[in-house]
């Protein structure tokens, strides 16, 4: 996904003189050719993430369309107040593109992980959040983000599904259960594990790479009495959105995702998926226990 991002951003810089890229050293080498061609619009501020967002806000105030990129924890967690004030409060937008989603940087430890990034954007309210589950979804999402003026967070991951669904900004049904069957919504790169987990269950599985704005119309159309959310970031991040959308209906909701626990462990992303119950076996356990009380 990062390679696609680099290639597409490099193309956009050439195509649209309104596009600018702001970096804080991360991925700077990948953008060296673009920086040589567009020295005024590829800006590496060094390891200064507060400044990175401040510069993006200033660029946007002059009418440019900044793409801002770093690890999620530095781009979002560290620079949260700059996002809130230097972009949102000024009434300007930007395209924030992160890598290192959740536990992608498992070997680097907690300091390089950010499972809470999407929840942070929920405190700000007006952000579009894109969580591609496959490299083929990245380029169209980036292009549409740069083509508009709003605020877009594009959350890239080293985890990927085997197939892409580039148009899935609304809930896309990938498996249909019997009428009234529980609805399982998978966001981004957790789709494959989710499909494996529910293989033996009578459920409808819908996929999206766009949790904000959440496709609440599609949700109301598809949801029966039980809804399960499987998200690759902090568990329950979309629970409020789903609960609000279904407030007029009796329903039960299970929100699965990364737990808030700092594990103080390394390993690889598959290990962390297992520890957080986001591998197929863990999801199967949680979803079965929720849908079939007593079965677990």
């Amino acid at each position: 996904m990062r390679d696609t991002f680099v290639g597409t951003s490099t193309a956009l810089l050439a195509e649209d003189p309104r596009t600018a890229l702001v970096l804080a050293d991360i991925s700077a080498a990948d953008f060296a050719p673009a920086a040589r061609r567009h020295p005024d619009r590829v800006l590496n501020v060094g390891i200064r993430e507060q400044l990175m967002i401040g510069v993006a806000g200033g660029l946007a105030l002059t009418g440019l369309r900044p793409i801002v990129h770093s690890y999620a924890t530095f781009l979002v967690d560290r620079a949260y107040e700059q996002i809130k004030l230097d972009l949102d409060h000024q009434g300007v937008g930007a395209v924030l593109v992160s890598v290192g989603a959740s536990y992608d940087a498992a070997r680097s430890g907690r300091t390089h992980q950010s499972p809470g990034d999407v929840a942070l954007f929920d405190t700000l309210g007006r952000w579009t959040v894109r969580v591609p589950g496959h490299p083929s979804e990245v380029a169209p999402l980036l292009r549409s983000a740069v083509a508009q003026d709003g605020s877009v967070y594009l959350r890239l991951s080293s985890q990927s599904n085997t197939a892409g669904h580039p148009g899935a900004d609304r809930l896309r049904v990938l498996r249909r259960g019997t009428p009234g069957a529980p609805l399982v919504v998978a966001v981004g790169p957790v789709l494959d594990a989710t499909l494996t987990a529910v293989a033996a269950l009578d459920v409808t599985v819908a996929y999206t790479h766009t949790p904000r704005p959440f496709d609440t119309a599609g949700l109301r159309e598809l949801a029966g009495r039980e809804v399960v959310l499987v998200e690759p970031y902090l568990a329950g991040t979309s629970a409020r959105v789903v609960a609000d959308a279904l407030a007029d209906r009796p329903h039960r909701l299970l929100g699965l995702g990364v737990t808030e626990v700092d594990l103080h462990r390394y390993g690889d992303p598959a290990d962390h998926a297992r520890w957080h119950g986001l591998d197929a076996a863990g999801l199967c356990r949680s979803i079965t226990a929720f849908l079939v009380p007593g079965a677990g």
């Binding site: 501020v45 401040g54 510069v55 002059t62």
Partner: protein
């Protein structure tokens, strides 16, 4: 390039406007410390007027130190950016003028500020955005306070702007000695060590202020430390 504008009103015209603003006593010393610098900026330095407040080629003034904006509002009123009547209702439920300015509410205000340490980064980005679009005339002036300089975000901006020689930026540090731990060795040195030019002036002396604000040179960003004695 800054274009000195014709002086049409003496600064005395600001005083009655300033007294119309009430309800912000907490930040009064802060507000008044900036008055002379703001007047010289808007009266003689900034190429921006109510008529050109949206012109891409205008100079930008970013009040980073959003605390105590009474003097800022008064100068904006004196120069016709906002109606003087707005000054009579500071931070009321229907007021456009709060204890910290909001760019979406006040014509001529380039950034909403209040939380310290945001203006210089926004100013650096603004300067880079103008440069990228071939707009080489406008200068970007950012006013910060000596206590605001405590915020680390300023130092990210100072280091970067100096390193790339961003010569369309002028930082103005209004120094009323309010930083808790002070700046041993002086404030100007914090900028010059990072590659800026810097000058320290008497923040009440309009000729010194004017000379400082127009003393930038090619290739380096410029800092003006305006000392306010006895504040």
């Amino acid at each position: 390039m800054s274009v000195p504008t014709t002086t049409t009103e003496p600064m005395a015209s600001v005083t009655p406007l300033l007294t119309r603003i009430t309800g912000d006593e907490k930040h009064a010393p802060s507000a008044h410390s900036t008055l002379d610098v703001l007047w010289v900026l808007y009266d003689r330095v900034l190429a921006t007027t109510p008529a050109t407040a949206e012109d891409p080629d205008r100079d930008r003034f970013l009040l980073s130190k959003g605390h105590g904006p009474a003097a800022f509002y008064a100068v904006l009123a004196a120069k016709g950016f906002i109606p003087p009547e707005w000054l009579d209702d500071l931070a009321g439920p229907d007021s456009r003028l709060g204890h910290h300015p909001d760019r979406l509410l006040v014509p001529g205000v380039e950034i909403g500020s209040g939380s310290l340490g945001h203006g210089l980064g926004l100013g650096v980005g603004t300067a880079l955005g103008l440069r990228a679009q071939g707009l080489t005339n406008p200068r970007v002036y950012v006013l910060i306070g000596d206590a605001e300089l405590d915020e680390g975000a300023n130092h990210e901006a100072v280091a970067y702007a100096g390193a790339i020689g961003l010569d369309s930026v002028t930082a103005i540090v209004v120094d009323n000695a309010s930083a808790t731990h002070g700046w041993p060795g002086g404030i100007a040195g914090r900028f010059t060590v990072a590659g800026w030019t810097a000058v320290t002036v008497d923040g009440r002396d309009h000729e010194e202020i004017f000379a400082g604000l127009t003393g930038h040179r090619p290739g380096r960003p410029h800092a003006v430390v305006a000392r306010i004695g006895g504040a």
